[in-house]
Structures are given as C-alpha cells and as structure tokens.
Amino acid sequence: MVKAETLEMLRREPDAEDLDLSWIDAPAAERGLRVTPGKRGLTLEDISVGTYGNPPEETRNQSGRMRGSAPRPDAQNLGAHWTFKSESWSDSAMMIYEEALQRQWSSATDIPWEEMPDLDEDLELAMSQLCTFLTQVEFIAGDVPGKFAPNVSADHFETGLFLASQIMDEARHLDVFRKRALANGIGLLQAGPGAVGLLTAQSFVDMTASLHLVGEGFVQSMFRMGELIAHSEVDKRIFRLAAQDESRHVAFGVMHMKHLLDTEPERKEEVHTYLDRMEGQVGSTPNQAGLTGGGDTTEALAILLGGGKDEKSLDEGYRKLMAVRRRQFNEYLHRLEVVGLNDRKERLPSRIRAFLDDVA
C-alpha cells in the first residue's frame, strides 16, 4: 500500500494537478505480495497465492481481465469466455506448462542429423511413409486446441498457457517428422485420410476426450515404443523427445477430465459418447482408425518393427505391431480408469477388448 504522505507529496508536485492516482490510493487488487522463487525457479504455482490463486468455479468475467487484477466498470465485454472452471480446467496445467518451457527442444540442432546412417531402402521407405503420416496428423493436434483457446476465461488463463505450449510442441512434431522424411534421400510419400475428424470437436470436453485421451494417448504409446520402430539413433532420439512432449498433452487431458468428472459427475455419460464415437461405435468411421492404424501406416510400421519386408520379417513386424496395439489399448483403458471411467472396460467394443492384458 502506498503511504498517504507519498501520495500527498506526488499530488503536490509541479504538473501533477491532472493526476488522479485513485488506482494507487485505493487499489482494488490485492497488493503486498513478495513471492520468491523456489527450487524450480519462480513458477506459476509459486505465484498462485492469495486472490491470485484459487481460480473461481464460476466467473462472469467476459472482458479478458486477468485473474486478480482490478475490474473497470467500462471494460469491453467480449462475450466469448466460458463461465465454468470445469469446462477447461486441469489441475496439472501450471506444472505442465512450466515443464514444457524447461523441455523445449530444437528439431534443427538437438537431433544428430549428420549421424544419420544409410538404412536399407525398404526401411528408409517405411520410415518416410510413417513420417508422412505423422507430419500430416501432428498439427491437427495444434489446430484443434487452437479452436477453443479464444473461449478460455482469463480467470483460467493457465489452461490458455498450456494450450500455447501444446501448439508449440505440435509445430515441432510436424517439423521434425517432415525433416526426417526429407533427411535421408526418400522424401514424403503417400498422404492418407489424415485426422481432420478431430476438428469436429464441438466443446473443450469433447476435444480432451477425443484428442488427449484417445488421439494423443495412442500416439504417445506408439512413440514410447520408438525403440522398436527406429533403426538409428537419430530416429530413436526423435521418438524419445516427441514422446516426452506427448506425455504432457495426455497428462493435461487426463487431469482435465478427472476434474470435470469429479466436479460434474452427471456428465459421465456425455463423455462416454465422445469415446463411443472415437472407438467407432456410433456407425461412423472410427476417427482413431487413421491414427497409427491406417493401411499404409500399418504396413510401414510392420516393416520397421520387423526389420524388413521378407516373409519372416513381416511376420515378426506384425507380431510386434500387435504388441504396440496392445500397449495402446491397455494404456488407454488405464487413462480412463484414472479419470473415473471405471465402467468403460465393459463398454469397449470387442475388437478393443481383445487387446487388453487381462482378457486374452
């Protein structure tokens, strides 16, 4: 709080007759904060204190006023922001955003491109095809969250920060898989149907269910098996770094969904319907079919996993691909259990249940 005598002194200064200073005299926002950095520096969690912490469960803030700052009665109303915290909040957003900043990497300089070995041509073709698929779908995962960002209230801005970090990650993924396809003499190959279907999400919850719990989750499981797919240290490093990024995205989605179902359990059936759609249970093409599972990509993955296209290698490749699928579905089910959808297992279609560890 500024002392009264200081204000008085300021008002008495030459040329100060037009100063109002009421904003400093009677501040409407909390003052006196002296947040100090912790072990991980000065983080968002550190500054989430007093009135600056505790995002409101419901807000009428439609002006873009940052949480904790003082309102003006004449502020413009943008009429675009979600009212309820549950719509977009994830308890992990602050931590994940800070982690994203710490773990940024450069596709140009953090991948040992000059150490790229000459691969067998079939393996190189398969890797280029896989990368064509990945560069095609990765930025859809940027476009989708972008679509909802203008609606995130400034009272829940941490979600907006996380979305920005995810979009940066997705940009790098589009970029690194494109570069990988172009790095070893083959180039991009056959594009497929892509992942535009994810853009049909009509709400943030619809998005986290379809993009984070399903799409990103499946890609993360695949990246985490990159050691099996990759045939060079270059490729292994790409998959490791990309998997690290995807883990953050999945964690955001899981914690958002958990928050939603903890606070609004009546929305459980609604969430199930988004999963029904993604699993192909509502009569349309499963969106997830294209993600890591489409025909061209499947064959490319099998060649990479088996180490070639001769009969024996292909048999081995498809066997390993089944292991990748198994991991994808088991991790998917685990995510659903964490968010509180324990009954999902019974609702899975048989072709998915076939992959679960405790069913086979």
């Binding site: 991980r40 983080t43 970029d175 076939a354």
Partner: protein
Amino acid sequence: MATKTEVAKQYVEFQQARDFDGLVSLLADDVELSMPMAGSVSGKEAVEQRLRNQPGGDNAPKLEWADPEEDGDDVKVSATGAPFGPLTLKLSFNDQEQVAKINISIGGNGFQRPPLDMRWANAPTERPPRPKDLGEEGFTLRKADSGSYGWAPDHWPYQNDTPRGAWPAKEANRGLPAPYSIFDKHEVWADNAADLYELAIRERWIPATEIAWGSIEPLDDHVEAALDQIFTNISETQYNSNQMMLGWLEQISYGFHEVKLYLSTQIFDQARHLEAFRKRALTNGGGLGVQTPGFMNRTVYAAFKFTELVTYINILRGSFFLALCENEHLPKSEADRQLFGNMANDLQRHLAYGVDHLKHYIRHDPTNHSHVNTWLARGEAMMAADLYRDKPYREALILALGETVKEGKARLKELRQAQLQKYLKTLEAASINNHQESVNPALQRVIDEP
C-alpha cells in the same frame, strides 16, 4: 455334402449378411466358440446367443474376407478392415462337415498378416538431396524444404491435412474436408516465416529460471505500483493476442506449414510474456493493477481477416510494445532489463513477420493497400481510445518513467513519440509509406498530448 471349404465360404457370407439363422444352420449341436475378447462358450444355443449379440451390433466394422484356405483338417479365413488389425477365423468340423469349433483370433498364434502391398512406396514424389554442411543452425526448415518441397503455391488445392510435397490420397480417401478457410497464399504468407520459426526456437527463454529474480530490490511503493500497472497491461494484452492467434490456426490450410509453425512460436512467446510479467508483478511487494478499457482487445477479437489480425497484433500493438520495452527508464533491476529485453527480442520477430506478410499481401494486389489502410485507421482509433481512457496506465507510466511527475510526463511524451516512430518505420518497411500524414487524429492527439 458340401466340402469344408464351401461350408466356410457360406459361413463368411452369412456373417457378412448378418444372417444368424443361416450361421446357426451350419453349426453342430456341441459347437464351441472361442473369442479371445469374450472367452469361450459351448453348445449351439449359447453360441447362437453370442453370435447374435456381438459388441458393436449393426455398427460393427465391415470386414473384407479372404478366400478360405484349408489348414490340415481345419479351414482358415483371414479378414482385414478391422481398425486394429487383421482377424483370423478358424473353423473345425465334425464328420458331418458341421462346424464344431469356431476360433476367432487377433494376433497370437492364429494371426495371419495381410499380404505385402507397398503401393505407398511408389508415390511419385521428389527425392530430396541429403543434407550436408549443416552448420551451427542445424537442419533448418529452409534446408529441409528443398526443391519442390519448398515451393508454396499461390493457391493450396487440398482441403484436408495433406502435407505439402506428399502424394495426395485419392479424392475418395481424403476424409473430411477441413474447416480451413484460407487457401490463398497472399492471405497469410511471409517469405521469412520459416527462418523466424527456427530463430524463435533458438532464442527461446524460460521465465522461471532464466530471469535474475533475486536482483529485484525493494522500490518506493508508488514506483512498484506503477510498474505493476504496466505489467498488468502487458499480461492482459498478450493473453488477448495469444488467444486470437490460437483461434485463427484452424483457418489456415495445411499447405502453408511455415506460417502455422511460425505462428506457433509467436503464440508461445505471447504466453511467456503474460506469464513473465505476471510473475514480476507479484514478486516485489506489489500485485496486479487495473484492467485495460479493452477497445483494442475487442478489435483483435473482431478481426474478420487474418491480415487484419496481424495488422492489429503484430504491426500496431507490436510496434507500441517494442518501443515500450526499449525504453531505458522503465527497468529498475537486472530482472526488469531481462524481461523487457527478452520481450523486445520476441517482438522483433513478430514485427518481422508482420512486415513481410503485409508486403506480400499488398504486392499480391495493390488494391489491398486500401484494406490495410482501413484496418490501420480502425486499429489506431481503438488504440487511441485505450490510451486516452486508461488513466491508471497513463499515470503509471508517468510515475515509472521519471523521478518527478514533471520528468515522468516529459518522458511519457518521448515514449509516445518513440512508439509512433517505431510504428511508422514498421509501416514503411511493409511498403506503406507516408503514413504519418494519415495517422488517425485521435491517436495523434494522444501521442502529442499524452
């Protein structure tokens, strides 16, 4: 009597037609059904029940079945089309050629992989040269996108997410057309987008750990309050810019990937600006101040065209903030200097994109000049409204810039002039010359009498 192969063929036909009566007619009374996902059942009635109630019901995927193949005494039929891998159906028979065992497997011992296809490997795309002599900047987008990969067409022809340079899927296999609305290069393009993308990644910084937070010394309360008011303004407007840039990504078609990538860096920069200055406001005995009037925020939300958005965010707001960040009187500590310096560095890139984009937009069609002028006039009027009505921000600048009110006012005038000059020079670089003569009078008034 039908052969085992013929029975298997019939079984598949009944399965495809979901003719369960037909299916049941082929079964032995003691038939066993084994589905790894659902366990085993035995007896005709139980098997019938299971067949009629398959998960997925009528919406189960349509499978493509291969011809039946004899496998010893059994017959195997493989199927593709299940989204998660091929299936194998294995039928065993009794001596009346009735189906005695049905085994459906995915993977495992019964797994049969599809035949090798590899048509994708024949996609007639360009074979790029291998990168060499990468240098310190590494394998940049510009180096990677050589030959036809680097050529962005004036009009992008694909409505889905086909990557530029890949062989497009056949029309019927392209999936949903995306909601993209920007297919013309001139609406988003800047020649420097790819380079700015890589530069932004090289110049990334981390507010939590790369700012000398410990260097901030206690300030006079009114100076700290003044700085915090300025930080509040930065945080709010950067969030506003960030949100709308994010929102426009889904409008930009996939063929202009350099632009989407560059914008991602700008969005991330803006997030960092919000975060960093909010942190600064809460570290030194202060807190946030009063929100802005929001005229400019509203204008950013209301942009109808992407170039209009860039005009407001990158050119107008960007120029004014850059001059603010470059002001030598504002920072009071090493941390402040780092914060303003890092933000200025980021803004230089935002301006560079904006300048190059506006130049491209105007060069594409000189009549676009009038659109830009309209947006400039509108943006200037709204900027002026904010500056004129934002008493806390004005007074905060006066208190933060000078040791006395008089000095503060003089320096505010210098700052406003510097902001205007930065803005005019930015416009000149974008091939918009002599704009000084047409600056909106309301903005000119706030500059002259801040």
